[in-house]
Subunit: 340 residues, 2 copies
């Protein structure tokens, strides 16, 4: 059974090997970063890449009191989310005094003058004591290649529903292999810890002689940024179009709990549905509370292939301190029904 995982991707630029330049994929990376900050000090850090790791690490670094700047090739942080939700993320970054610089390409790293390192970007020069490169990961497939195993279109190891590779008796699980996506009906690369756990259990069952399959995922994912929960599931419009679906979407802002209760409860939900069937295809949510919980419920709805007409009237455990009578899920589904 192959569990060769993935490695952080580092663009081939001069200076990427300098001391103070890090990636974060495993426990050793984390220890290296903590040791560096503790022993050498860090006044300012640059995070290259505004994905999950970049966002989580910007919070971790800022919480240590380090001046933090995030740059990304794309114009917005967490660009898989709708621009309206990226705005909420940008506002949170700004509230926490983290600078974001979009449309920015890192070109090289060298020794700095005022700080330990200097990052040369197409937009100018920035100095910092530490640079974290978090621009994605690549599956480790060398061993699989050496074994002659089939590699999928995604670049990760091809497996079937039993986690078996193209060679009988050889299994693969986790960040090195693909997983079946229940909405796009295709094999995708979604290297996440919970998926890896499920794949591991399925492979273990089969290897141990007790047949089991992993039916697939719906693409549920989330991260936390200070007080903000950011979550998504299923397909966005462009992924849906690529599948031949007819996506139509709506964004609403509701409250995670009843309006009468205290606390920051604004919750944004975006839903994407198929105009041909009225079925849910995907959803995104952002808010100080309740975003992940709604995305989990909608992941269940996606798994069941539910239509908006059912989702708009789902029965939830309503009580004012824990949710409004009309949940943001209901409101989003009803809004989207009007646009179908």
């Amino acid at each position: 059974m192959l569990g060769t995982g993935a490695s952080a991707f580092v663009p081939k630029i001069p200076g990427a090997e300098l001391e103070g330049v890090f990636t974060l994929k495993n426990l050793n990376d984390a220890i290296r970063i903590k040791t560096f900050i503790r022993n050498r000090g860090c006044r300012k850090a640059i995070v290259v890449g505004a994905g999950f790791i970049g966002m989580e690490m910007s919070e971790a670094l800022r919480t240590l009191g380090i001046e933090t700047l995030v740059i990304d090739l794309l114009p917005r942080p967490a660009a898989r989310w709708d621009p309206e939700f990226s705005k909420a993320i940008l506002e949170e970054l700004s509230r926490q005094n983290i600078t974001f610089s979009g449309n920015t390409r890192m070109e090289s790293i060298e020794r700095g003058k005022d700080y330990r390192l200097r990052l040369n970007a197409d937009k100018g020069v920035i100095e910092a004591d530490m640079i974290l490169i978090a621009v994605g990961i690549r599956p480790n497939v060398k061993l699989a290649n050496d074994l002659g195993l089939q590699i999928g279109k995604t670049g990760a190891i091809h497996v079937d529903f039993s986690q078996c590779t193209s060679k009988e008796g050889i299994y693969a699980v986790g960040d090195c292999c693909e997983v079946y996506h229940h909405i796009s009906k295709s094999w995708v690369y979604i290297p996440l810890g919970d998926v890896a756990n499920k794949q591991g259990r399925v492979a273990g069952h089969n290897i141990g002689g007790r047949p089991m399959i992993l039916q697939g995922v719906v693409g549920a994912q989330s991260f936390k940024l200070f007080t903000l929960e950011v979550a998504a599931t299923g397909l966005d419009e462009s992924e849906a179009s690529d599948c031949g679906y007819h996506p139509v979407s709506a964004i609403i802002w509701g409250n995670a709990i009843a309006r009468s209760m205290p606390g920051e409860k604004k919750l944004g939900i975006k839903m994407v549905a198929d105009r041909a069937t009225g079925n849910l295809l995907g959803a995104q949510a952002v808010g100080a509370m309740g975003a992940v919980s709604r995305i989990n419920t909608l992941s269940c709805a996606l798994w069941a292939g539910m239509g908006l007409d059912e989702i708009a009237y789902l029965d939830f455990a309503y009580a004012p301190p824990v949710g409004p009578a009309w949940d943001p899920i209901h409101i989003a589904a009803q809004e989207l029904i009007r646009k179908l």
Copy 2:
């Protein structure tokens, strides 16, 4: 369209009409209680009934610094929940210095000596400045009876999927009427605010000439008790047996978020499934966080008629601060699969 609501039930006991004895069903009741406490003072209160209203009001009274005692005919508070979860509720009451006396029948109320009122119970005598009777509500069906409308077995007005009563052109919604239960496949009386909202919208559509039906509910419900979320959905074992299902259940204690994160995160989930089909029939949850969110997701699973094999591997938006890699939902479903 009848929206005659429900009234608080008051047992026919001597002294129920005395000043300082209250029920809580509407805004006027709430104003009366607040005015009484403000103008007359209240050192000690007795809450009769340990259901939703009794639990929520015991928190409200205690938060005002009032010594609070809850009594109930049944041995446990919130007795619809499993005894193991009632224990968690009892612990929370005790932590908040609220006394609970189970198996206690109120027999009469009279003027008190040290306090304004005296409650005579089968177990003894208790004095207090205020008594709140919260032993349930009854649908207001007088007008419906006068109109000759069919009343259901539950005592509430019979309606169809369009919210139409037994007489064409007469509709009913809210706490005065029944609702269809998707799991028991029967018409039940679940007078909750979110259900009333849905019924109102469906009746309005039909009255306005735009056909619409309410497909039903799954029995989702919750309340908050200080820091504890208490929620349930679907059927419990006895309700399931009454329907001819073959209930088997499991209780597990997991964590609402990853074990490595700070905070009180212990979460109990009970699942009930049908041994014949492996399908989920109901669930309960109790915890400082995440109980309602799990019950909402499971309400969606119930609506979709999902089996435990699917629920045990549902794809959620995993990230350590918002949920563990194996969610308590997965763990409970897997535990229950072993018992099928």
